[in-house]
Symmetry: C2
Subunit: 464 residues, 2 copies
């Protein structure tokens, strides 16, 4: 990568983590020792490098995702994990086709566009229509059908980079629901300003689902410079005509799958610690940040626990399939394992930059456990935050009361690359990746070895 | 733009440029006054915004470049210039076609490629061949024909960003001559690592010319992340097979043209000050840095001189056509104007970031003139450098001894965008653009109004 964002707080503070001496602190000392060793980790980068190079893009339900599963099985077995296996499931598959946009008049030129997940298709030669622009999803919602009918809707509002990525939820609605709103009003198609924070001509794709009864229409995202270009054209006040060609296809039902591996625990009654990320990626980039990083970090940390001797609890690493297109892998996994005693969940799915905050969802009885994790993480520059929600793949367990920790990563530049062709290995900062592995190793060491029972948390709104 | 590179030195130092009082310094005082007013310029940005939005890409010899000429005439007339006109010429025209690259084995995935100027074409379905990689042009040159024959050559060496852009000359040889070297050795095609300094999936195109007697082959550039991906694959030691589709076409002879405008001088015998940039752009971006900036800066500065009253010398602003593909516009201009008394030339063609150095090519007799220009520029943070060469469009005049100044711009990020889809308006920092206009205004004020004769410089190696 070109611009290193150093995990500045991590290294100087390690001097504070002197070896513990009191016998009661043996477990903590072990966590600290493993944590500090993990700051030299190379396994996570090797997994990322291998997966992004040897497989590259791996769209859910495609042959590329199947190759990724085979790759994952080989790698996880080579790393020494137990019970490495693929658990298949079926799912509907959508794939990208041709993608072209051009302004026909008054300022003829090409624009860079990509289809959103589940987009409808234009005819092969495309459609041509006037563009009607809206500054926000709300403005589109407020528009009369007559304003929109037969036109190509353009929604231009843009998100801002923040450390916690919190603008994605709000502005992402233009992608998630904008297409259905436009279709209901009779639009010929919709193009949105990419939901991202970069200024490169790489559009951001992402899933959207058609609301009940809505007819799919072509739905794309313009790169941010192209969206700004279209805004400048519209501001001149003359009618702007676009030709748009998007020819994605639905392939019907195909097989996808989750890849599972385990670090065997010594105490089957203590329950399972389930961690992971997702193996699938969008098809435009090689899925480095999203989410080779997550599967690499979680596996590298679990391996460190395994190599240090069997933990009390079994650690189950799941590399979920088909997260990007709707969480099919997570849903299939829960359906297939209704009776597994999963007492703790955590996922990594926000890139490869440093962990800066620990959010938790524990029962009051497990407060001492949370305190010990926080103590092990503080020297890495990680503060305590609010309530853990668990993310797309493990969120359902959290919502049912299973204990969880979210190791929140710095998302300042995450939406520069997210779902774009630019999500590639060169963006990864190996030092920040290592800080992630150290944080996960410390957390797993404390949680998997905790002597107390890990109990269900009360289900609160924060976990919803 | 996202990351402002401030013209940090410019503003604080302006306090040093107190109004001159001595009568002999009237001309200098005028230059300083115009310079400081130009730091509030909006004309240059308006030209850039208009040209990049209303025309966008404008490849030499195409209908888009013709529209750009018509646009330029309208804009230059509206700004009040005299003798605004198009001077047409004919030229051979090459245009891009389909562009696709994919690794067939052992790691199937798409790569991002673009054709280099004058690339040969593959059949519509592409060609498929093994890739043979070289770390440098020199390594390719040293390779046996047997190593290369029938294969797709890949040259991976990469340039580094520097303030003066000086790595472009050395590493650019892989683009300029690599295709001919590969063809001579019997390669099926060549792809190079883009000659650039970014890490985005936007390849850098650029012209290359086939050496005498060499058969054109398909010649492309991979984006830098894609080139690094291919390097990682090759390092694994297994044969790598690529399918490459590039279908550019030669359209034969078409019309291009230069756009000319003047600020009328009071003294026809004092000779003409000829300045400009180039109107054409590569077709992938909207040609903001390269070179809407140059035509905008030079015209905005000339307008400021015009609006302050007629200068002694006529300032002729030329927006050259077809610079990118071989300097056809400049060649045609010189051929059409063999007897014009051009006493000074200067061009702007290195983006929109701040001027940091003044290079000169003057006869010894004109040293006082050079000193006065330097004095007017210093408060903008501009140092004196070495010998001026003049650049692609006015270099031939400099080589014949015509006096010249190069206002060297900060090129640290120039090759992040140069010849890529990313050369768009959002990258422009309006403050740095204004510093350019101020520097050009000061220089023009001094040079166009100089009372002494501007004489020919000795022709030295530095001007070659």
């Amino acid at each position: 990568m070109k611009k290193l964002l150093l995990a500045a707080a991590a290294l100087p503070l390690l001097a504070l983590s002197a070896p513990s001496v009191a016998p009661a602190q043996n477990a903590s000392a072990q966590a600290e020792k493993l944590r500090d060793a993990a700051l030299k980790d190379d396994v996570a980068f090797e997994i990322m490098e291998g997966l992004t190079t040897e497989i590259g893009p791996r769209l859910a339900g495609t042959e590329a995702e199947a190759r990724a599963r085979e790759w994952a099985v080989r790698r996880l077995k080579a790393l020494g994990f137990a019970n490495v296996r693929i658990e298949p499931y079926d799912m509907p598959v959508w794939v990208r086709g041709e993608e072209r946009a051009e302004i026909v008049s008054p300022f003829p030129q090409k624009l860079v566009v990509t289809a959103l997940g589940n987009s409808g298709a234009t005819p092969p030669a495309g459609i041509q229509a006037e563009v009607v622009g809206f500054d926000s999803l709300q403005a589109l919602e407020a528009a009369s059908d007559a304003t929109v009918r037969g036109k190509i809707v353009f929604v231009s509002h843009g998100m801002t980079a923040t450390q916690d990525g919190s603008q994605y939820g709000y502005f992402g609605a233009a992608r998630r629901t904008g297409p259905s709103v436009a279709s209901r009003k009779g639009a010929a198609a919709i193009v949105i300003r990419s939901i991202g924070t970069d200024s490169h001509r790489n559009p951001h794709t992402g899933v959207q689902s058609w609301a009940q009864g809505v007819t799919p229409i072509p739905a794309g995202a313009l790169s941010i410079p192209d969206a700004e270009q279209l805004q400048r054209m519209l501001k001149r006040g003359k009618p702007v005509t676009m030709r748009l060609t998007l020819t994605p296809r639905n392939l019907g039902t195909r097989q996808s799958g989750n890849v599972v591996a385990e670090v065997r625990g010594t105490d089957a009654d203590a329950g399972i610690v389930l961690i992971g990320g997702h193996l699938d990626s969008w098809d435009l980039g090689t899925g480095a940040f999203d989410n080779a990083a997550g599967v690499a970090i979680t596996a590298a940390a679990a391996k460190r626990i395994m190599d240090a001797g069997r933990p009390r609890r079994t650690i189950r690493v799941v590399w979920f399939g088909a997260e990007e297109v709707g969480g099919n892998g997570s849903n299939a996994y829960r359906a297939a394992h209704p009776n597994d005693k999963i007492v703790f969940v955590s996922e990594s799915d926000f890139g490869a930059d440093r962990v800066w905050r620990m959010d938790t969802s524990f029962a009051e009885a497990n407060k001492p456990l949370a305190d010990r994790v926080a103590q092990a993480l503080a020297p890495l520059g990680i503060s305590r935050g609010g309530a853990a929600g668990g993310g797309a793949d493990v969120g359902a367990w959290v919502r049912s009361g299973v204990a969880a920790i979210d190791l929140q990563q710095d998302g300042t530049r995450y939406f520069d690359y997210h779902h774009t062709p630019d999500d590639t290995l060169d963006k990864v900062d190996p030092e920040q990746l290592r800080q992630n592995v150290a944080a996960w190793t410390a957390m797993l060491s404390v949680v998997a070895n905790a002597r107390e029972e890990i109990v269900k948390a009360p289900v609160t709104a924060a976990g919803q």
